[in-house]
C-alpha cells in the first residue's frame, strides 16, 4: 500500500501538536459513540482506542479547521463495521449486540429510565440506532451524520424518524420490561416491523 502522506508537504511539529490536542478532547465523545455501537464498555474502549490511533496515523489527510469530530466518528464507525463484517452482514439485525447490551445494562444501580432506553435502543436495527444517536445525542446535523454513515441525507432523516417512532412505541408498550410476559410478542412485532421498514427503500 502506498502512503498518501508521503506525497504531501511535511507536517510541522506544531501541526501535530494542534491535531493531538483536538484529538484528545474528542476521546470522551469517541468512547460514548463506541459504547452505543458495542454495548459492552470494554469492547467499546478497545474500539475507541483503535479509532483514535487510526485518526492519529491518518492525521496528514485531515484538513485542520474542518470538523474533526465528524471525521473521527466516521473512522470509528468504519472500524466497527469492518470488524463486524467478518461475522455477519451489516444490514442484518444486530441481535448479538442487542443481547450484549442487555447484559451490560443489567446493573441494579442504573437509573430505570436509562435502563429502559438502552434496552429500547438495543431493539432497533443498527442503522437506525446509529442515526438516532448521532443526531439525537451526538449533536450532529443530518448532513454530518450522512457523511459519517456514508449515505444520503434523506436516508439519515428517514432512519432517524423511523428510530424515533419505533423507540417511542417500544417504550410506550413497556416491551422493554425484563419480567413482562408480553415482552416476547412485542419484541417479535418490533423486529418484524423494523425488518419490513428496512426492506422498503
Amino acid at each position: 500500500m502506498s502512503d498518501p502522506a508521503a506525497a504531501r508537504p511535511p507536517r510541522s511539529a506544531a501541526d501535530d501538536e494542534a491535531f493531538k490536542q483536538e484529538l484528545v478532547q474528542l476521546i470522551p465523545h469517541l468512547r460514548a459513540f463506541a459504547r452505543t455501537l458495542c454495548g459492552d464498555p470494554a469492547a467499546a474502549d478497545d474500539l475507541a482506542q483503535d479509532a483514535m490511533m487510526k485518526a492519529w496515523d491518518a492525521r496528514a489527510s485531515f484538513q485542520m479547521g474542518t470538523n474533526m469530530k465528524a471525521w473521527t466518528f466516521m473512522i470509528l464507525r468504519n472500524q466497527f463495521y469492518s470488524e463486524k463484517r467478518r461475522s455477519w452482514r451489516q444490514s442484518q439485525l444486530d441481535q448479538e449486540a442487542a443481547e450484549r447490551t442487555l447484559v451490560a445494562v443489567d446493573d441494579p444501580e442504573a437509573p430505570v429510565a436509562l435502563d429502559e432506553l438502552r434496552q429500547g435502543l438495543a431493539m432497533l436495527p443498527a442503522e437506525q440506532r446509529e442515526a438516532l444517536i448521532l443526531v439525537g445525542a451526538g449533536g450532529f446535523a443530518y448532513e454530518e451524520a450522512a457523511e459519517i454513515c456514508n449515505c444520503a441525507v434523506g436516508t439519515v432523516k428517514s432512519r432517524v424518524s423511523r428510530a424515533r417512532r419505533a423507540l417511542h412505541a417500544i417504550l410506550e408498550d413497556g416491551s422493554y420490561d425484563r419480567d413482562g410476559a408480553s415482552a416476547g410478542d412485542a419484541m417479535r412485532a418490533i423486529l418484524a416491523d423494523a425488518e419490513r421498514l428496512s426492506t422498503v427503500r
Binding site: 484529538l23 476521546i27 468512547r31 475507541a48 483514535m52 432506553l117 439525537g136 417511542h168
Partner: protein, 81 residues
C-alpha cells in the same frame, strides 16, 4: 349552471350559516392536537434521556490507557520516522 354560480358567488344567508356551522371546532372527542402535543412531549422526553445516556459516558474520566497509548505510539512514530 346559473344555480352553480349562485351557490359559489352569492350564497344565501342560510347557506352561509350552514357553512359556519361546518367550520365549528372539530367534534372529534380525542382532540387530535392534544394527542399530538403529548406525543411530541414524549418524543422530547426520549430525546432528553438519549442525550443523558450519551453525556454520561462523555463525562466519565478517560482511562489513562488512552493517553498512554497515544504517547507511546508517538514515540515509536518519531523513532521510526
Amino acid at each position: 349552471m346559473g344555480d352553480e354560480n349562485a351557490k359559489r358567488g352569492r350564497p344565501s344567508r342560510k347557506r352561509h350559516a350552514d357553512s359556519m356551522i361546518e367550520k365549528m371546532p372539530s367534534p372529534d372527542p380525542r382532540k387530535p392536537s392534544a394527542a399530538l402535543d403529548e406525543a411530541r412531549l414524549r418524543q422530547q422526553a426520549i430525546g432528553v434521556r438519549l442525550r443523558q445516556m450519551f453525556d454520561d459516558v462523555v463525562n466519565e474520566d478517560v482511562p489513562d490507557e488512552f493517553l498512554e497509548i497515544l504517547r507511546r505510539h508517538d514515540i515509536k512514530t518519531v523513532e521510526n520516522g
